[in-house]
């Protein structure tokens, strides 16, 4: 078991290494001046400083050395300086990270729980109207752009019903220290809701399939013959067989979640990592962009690793077989 995990872990490390090479290559292909790109050229830097940067970052060296010094700096936590905010990239990421984490974490948990519940309900009532509704809902959601969903929620709840504000993470014109948490919550509901609604579909459909398989097994047939109620069947047989795939799936969903949060943050002008990345991309702030991309990829790879390990190692059946 330990061996399997370490193999997976090493594989993830090689993937991260590959990712850094890929990003480096892409950045190198860009028409942006390498000094700006790697150092995060501060507009106020003097010519001598730029010369120093050039020597330090090895602009005149070969590609491999360049990659070496860049990756070395990354490992020390030096992500360069943002052109846009005139601050170290790592500081900007730190300040946005929690806002984004709250948003994505809430959506992740909510969509997981609701999606699982819907999937189970659909499977237990297979072919009935409630199953058809859940199926239709999930299939439609898969085809729905998340930003459109966000805009619709905005129109309904913010413009028509005026229940929630139109955007931002806190009321405008209020000092950061005076923002009450209830205000934050108020601004937080719609983006989180948008992100959750769309995350539901994936889990719901997979759980439904899985549950249908389980309900077709002989042990469930026997349980029915013994007179177990639907709830007992779910509790005794369905839950433990279907919860693990659902959790794995949720962990593997990190990449989509981050993409979705980029769009949701854009719609609600919510100042998280996603909207910062969009701004950086539009304004050409390469160091900030690369920093956020690497951090988010780390996140996603970790999610995939967890999903892998959960699916292959934690499940007692595969453990015995292995």
């Amino acid at each position: 078991m330990v061996a399997t995990i370490s193999v997976r872990f090493i594989r993830m490390l090689t993937l991260l290494f590959g990712l850094s090479i890929l990003t480096f290559t892409l950045v190198h292909l860009s028409p942006i001046d390498p000094v700006n790109a790697y150092v995060g050229g501060d507009g106020s830097a003097s010519p001598e400083q730029i010369e120093k940067f050039k020597a330090y970052w090895g602009v005149d060296q070969g590609l491999v050395q360049k990659y070496g010094s860049w990756a070395g700096a990354l490992l020390e936590g030096n992500f360069g300086t943002s052109l846009l905010y005139r601050a170290p990239v790592i500081d900007i990421i730190q300040s946005r990270f929690l806002t984004s984490l709250a948003l994505m974490g809430t959506a992740w948990v909510l969509s997981g729980v609701i999606g699982y519940a819907l999937g189970v309900i659909a499977a237990m009532n297979r072919g009935k109207w409630i199953d058809k509704i859940i199926k239709w809902y999930s299939y439609t959601l898969v085809s729905t752009p998340i930003f459109w969903m966000g805009l619709i929620l905005l129109i309904v709840f913010a413009v028509w019903l005026k229940w929630f504000p139109v955007g931002l993470a806190a009321p405008a014109g209020v000092m950061e220290s005076e923002v009450r948490w209830i205000d934050r919550l108020h601004h937080f509901v719609l983006p989180a809701l948008t992100l959750s609604i769309l995350g539901v579909a994936n889990v719901a459909m997979h759980t439904r399939e899985k549950m249908i398989d389980i309900l077709n097994t002989e042990y469930v047939l026997f349980a029915k013959a013994r007179g177990e109620s639907s709830w007992q069947i779910f509790k005794n047989h369905g839950l433990r067989n279907s919860i693990l795939p659902a959790i794995s799936l949720q962990f593997a969903y990190f990449g989509e979640l981050f993409g979705g949060s980029m769009l949701a943050e854009q719609v609600f002008s919510y100042p998280g990592l996603g909207s910062t990345l969009t701004t950086a991309g539009l304004k050409g702030d390469l160091p900030l962009m690369v920093g956020i991309i690497l951090i988010s990829s780390l996140f996603v790879f970790a999610g995939n690793l967890i999903a892998d390990v959960l699916g292959k190692v934690v499940d007692p059946r595969t453990r015995e077989a292995g």
Binding site: F147, I152, M289, I293
Partner: protein, 278 residues
């Protein structure tokens, strides 16, 4: 095995669904060519009109007819979608066949690359590629096609692995046919159905990602009638209550994506008759 209602077995229903989806897309395409560009001129009609019979989707703050704009925007999405999916499919087929035929090392390397591309957050990398390609349609096409080939490549790989040792291919090889000949004459026809379905099922993803990228402001200039741009412009007019600028273009986009999804799904089921009884 479920009992089917009399007269409507599952396959008939499938064909009907297919016909509806295809018909819808065809009408859309036809409209996009026949609708006149006059409606897009500034001040051609009354500004900020709510939906009515003469302006189905209403007009925007410049008096442009939203129905015309949306239809033309969707045509652009479809064109980009078709082109990008094609590129992705080409990459996928190449990678899949290489992984399956060129021995263990190639297989390991390609599986690793697939894992790498599956692992990274797609939208994030599309943004990076878009930026590096210098924006424009070029950037969008490149960004999307470089991130969408992975799933299909896996399918192609396992398909080719299955038929690689089939007798007819072994015989063909022993007659001295080149690897290229075998790949073209024997393997491609065998994997074609899977590739076709992969292409169709890729479409919805590609269109959604294209819309997302243009919505975020990457790639196309604001004058282009792309669905993402229409929606991101409409975003600024939400608080003044112009809901129709958002609701209808998005709804049409959802319908297009759903149609493609349904077409791909019906084709998939047709090639797997066993699952048509679901």
């Amino acid at each position: 095995m479920q009992l089917v209602r009399e007269g409507w077995n599952v396959r008939k229903k499938m064909v009907l669904m297919l016909a509806i989806s295809l018909g819808f897309l065809f009408v859309l395409l036809l409209l996009s060519f026949t609708l006149s560009n006059d409606h897009l001129r500034l001040g051609a009609g009354a500004k900020n009109m709510a939906p009515s019979l003469s302006h189905l989707f209403g007009t925007d703050w410049l008096g442009r007819d939203m129905f015309t704009r949306t239809i033309k925007g969707l045509r652009l999405s479809l064109t980009i979608g078709a082109f990008t999916s094609l590129l992705s499919v080409l990459i996928a087929v190449m990678m899949g066949i290489c992984a399956a035929t060129f021995g263990k090392t190639a297989d390991t390397v390609i599986s690793w690359v697939i894992d790498l591309f599956i692992g990274m957050p797609h939208l994030v990398f599309m943004v990076l590629i878009c930026f590096i390609a210098g924006g424009g349609i070029y950037g969008i096409v490149l960004g999307i096609s470089l991130t969408h080939w992975t799933a299909l490549a896996r399918v192609v790989r396992s398909e080719v692995l299955q038929i690689k040792n089939a007798e007819y291919i072994q015989i063909s090889k022993s007659y001295g046919k080149s690897a290229w000949y075998v790949a073209r004459k024997h393997m491609l026809p065998a994997i074609f159905p899977q590739v076709m379905i992969g292409f169709l099922l890729m479409f919805p993803h590609v269109i959604l990602h294209e819309a997302a990228l243009t919505f975020l402001g990457f790639g196309l200039s604001p004058q282009t009638p792309a669905v993402g741009i229409i929606l991101s412009e409409a975003m600024n007019h939400i608080s003044t209550g112009k809901w129709w600028l958002v609701v209808f273009p998005g709804m049409l986009l959802v319908m297009v994506v759903k149609s493609f999804d349904s077409i791909g799904e019906q084709f998939r089921r047709m090639t797997e008759p066993a699952s048509s009884h679901e």
